[in-house]
């Protein structure tokens, strides 16, 4: 029986409100400061009281070096963000695409809302000009898997191509799904991650649900919502033996992964049962020959959502019951929700980079029993294994363990 294939991360690309790549994300995590900008209010929603007026936006981030403007004209914003981040990840990995599409190269991307700006424009066309007024280009790029399709074309990835929709759990779910493809031998490499655009309509609708805040305070007693974000973060996963043979830098090993569902969750909010996700993590760790005590740090999906943070904290209390919690980082207070930028904190923890608690955090919530770790300017010891969790409104949840790897 052959040894199971192990999976490593060899490249990361990111387009976020903080800029391009991991470096500005690491800086922001070290300061604990989000970067948000005003977002227009849709005229139809302008008259309504708003809780939030800002989002973690990528306007003004110059991505031209990664994607020619001429090619970008035929792409929706999520496709643009996805291709930019994917190309950056490939360059970071040192594994540039060849001339011919690679049938061993998978793509697994997550999005929650897809190209909603394009869908909205198509609806406007229908309402203003009738159905014959629909632009074919808008339709082509409005499909949820357009970013994954564009990434496949631009990055010459001709392996399995999956577009996952697990809402806020999507980004970390792609890490597990991509690792599973490689571990099972269905691919040797994979581009995994998330892409999202935040439009005035979407922001306004989320605000109608009282989901948003301009000042996210994950795990804080006063928390009142999450900071909506956009952009993309994409990683290159590779089969470890092949990556070592070519001398790649190994950013992390994807050691374990899994998912769960909380059936107590209503469709528009988080649920209240931490047991499914905690049980999934315990079982998944065991399946990958790990135990809870092997986790040195946690990057949790707490975002500032009242119920979401309660659930994330409940999972950790259940999981580490009877033990001291390892350091728990809550990076969505810096990166915003959506598009997977918070995954950067996993690499920061593995590399021992300083991460501060999110700005604005000041009052621990005794109901949660979890406080974000970190101290500005203080570098913790590098973590050996980092558990990354992500739970979603509507009930889905996913997790993965990133492991520090000895460099070749």
């Amino acid at each position: 029986m052959t040894a199971p294939r192990t999976v490593v991360v060899t490249g990361v690309g990111a387009l976020t409100s903080h800029g391009l790549g991991l470096s500005p994300l690491f800086d922001a995590l070290g300061r604990g400061e989000p970067l948000a900008a005003p977002i227009d209010r849709l005229p139809e929603l302008a008259a309504r009281a708003a809780s939030a007026r800002r989002a973690a936006r990528v306007d003004g981030v110059a991505w031209d070096e990664w994607l020619a403007r001429r090619a970008a004209r035929r792409m929706s914003p999520p496709s643009i963000y996805g291709v930019v981040a994917a190309r950056m990840a490939q360059a970071d990995s040192g594994l540039e695409p060849g001339e011919e599409p690679d049938p061993e190269y998978a793509v697994v991307l997550a999005t929650t809302y897809g190209a909603c700006s394009y869908s909205q424009r198509m609806l406007d066309q229908i309402l203003d000009h009738g159905p014959e007024g629909i632009s074919p280009l808008l339709f082509m790029e409005s499909v949820v898997n357009a970013p994954a399709g564009q990434v496949a074309i631009q990055c010459r990835a001709a392996g399995p191509n999956l577009s996952l929709c697990l809402r806020e759990a999507g980004p970390v779910a792609t890490v597990g799904r991509g690792a599973a493809e490689i571990a099972a031998g269905r691919a040797s490499r994979a581009l995994v991650g998330a892409t999202e655009e935040m439009t005035p309509l979407l922001h306004g609708v989320l605000d109608q649900f009282r989901s948003l805040s301009d000042h996210p305070r994950p795990l804080d007693r006063r928390r009142d919502g999450f900071l909506a974000g956009e952009g993309a973060l994409i990683m290159v996963l590779e089969e470890e033996a092949a990556a070592r043979r070519r001398g790649a830098r190994l950013r992390a090993r994807v050691r374990a992964w899994g998912g769960a569902f909380d059936p107590t969750a209503p469709c528009a909010d988080w649920g209240h049962d931490p047991v499914p996700l905690a049980r999934s993590i315990r079982a998944g760790l065991a399946r990958h020959e790990l135990a809870v005590d092997d986790v040195d740090a946690v990057v949790c999906g707490a975002s500032g959502s009242r119920r979401g943070d309660r659930l994330e904290a409940g999972v950790l209390r259940d999981l580490f019951s009877g033990r001291d919690l390892p350091p728990v980082y809550a990076p969505k207070g810096v990166t915003g929700e959506y598009a997977g930028a918070y995954l950067a904190a996993g690499f920061a923890a593995l590399e021992g980079r300083p991460m501060a608690p999110p700005a604005g955090f000041g009052e621990p919530d005794p109901e949660l029993g979890v406080t974000p770790s970190g101290l500005a300017g203080s570098a913790p010891p590098p973590a050996g294994r980092v558990l990354v969790t992500g739970s979603a409104a509507g009930g889905s949840a996913a997790w993965a363990v990133l492991e520090r790897v000895d460099q070749p």
Binding site: M1, E44, L45, P101, P103, V107, T112, G114, M122, L123, I126, G130, P131, E132, I134, S135, P136, F139, M140, E141, S142, V143, V144, N145, A146, A148, G149, Q150, A152, I153, A157, A158, G159, P160, N161, L162, S163, L164, C165, L166, R177, A180, A184, G185, R186, V205, G259, A260, F261, D262, P263, A265, C267, V275, S280, R287, G394, G395, S396, A398
Partner: protein, 410 residues
Amino acid sequence: MSRGEPVWVTGAGAVSAWGWGVEPLWQGLAAGTTAIRRPDRFDSSAYRTRVAGEVPDPPAELAGRFSGWSGWSWADRFAVAAAREALDRAGLGAERPAELANATVVLGSSTGGMLEGEEYYEGLRRDQRSRLRLITRQLVSSPGEVVARELGCSGPVETVSSACASGTLALGMALERLRAGEADIALAGGSDGLCRITYGGFNALRLVDDEPCRPFRRERAGLSIGEGSGILVLETASTAAARGATPLAILSGAGASSDAHHMTAPHPEGEGAARAVSRALVDAARGPGDLAFINAHGTGTPLNDVAEWRALASALGRVAGQVPVTSTKGAVGHLLGAAGAIEAVATVLSLVHGSVHPTAGVGEPDPEAPVDLVRDGTRPIERRGAAVSLNLAFGGCNAAVVFEPGSPPA
């Protein structure tokens, strides 16, 4: 990589233009006629084409059976109804079967509750008021979430939205989870509802026929949009056998690929689709000579059917023109994210009944796509063997699954 123990299909459920349930689906498919007609879900008079595979009104008792029914989107309702039927047929008829506590749910969907989202936006534009409830059902992840919530599942719930390959990809993803030991039972398939954006978008691309589609016919002129759901109950053989279940079929393999070629047109030589078929057969430890029939993607567009023939020729060699081929789309339309799912149900039903349903549609076969097209009535499955169900999608996604008979040879 060990493939582990076999994965059985122990239940199947369907909602289609033929009605609510697998029985009306199979009766309609076997008759070889089409359920594609003028839709009522929205006013299609201003569209270039005016036919679709629309699901008829549901039986009255369904609304009474599910307390959340009135608040669900059509895609949600299709999914829950199909899931419930599949579970009933699998012998898991309790309202929240204990066996499902750790079940995984993997569904494909490309539009979810977009029709309801369109209604929300129109109301917003019209008078700045609209019911928030409408927009909560718009997400493509909603059908899978509603199914899991309704049945009390706490295993992983995934939605894959890779256009027309979604349903088949979902089956492959569920197969992988079962093989990996992450779950013992899965509900897998897809659900999609008609909506104006999709109906208009395909018309804008001039891919829609104004008559019911005619897969693999020489005079074919485009596809027909449809809606509905197909869901299979998948179980590891030991789990199913332990509770006395028997297999309708065996899901023995899955394969996927991308053309990495063009966003809407398939690779002209069908290279990516050929790889998906080959990978599925390898995964199933089967070869082209083991095939009893193929349920093709068969949309009825000029480009797809030829590309698909070339893919089959590439993957199967000289056998390609000898294996019976059918397409479900001529009868119920193209269910987009649920296409692979309803076609998987049709494939399982063919294996159960021992006959391949004909491809609805009129006209002579296209000599440029010389598949052995099953038409003019059902065709008995003459040799015991595997069946491939294949789908090609926007963005260049391709996916294939392999089913085998569940009953032992006579």
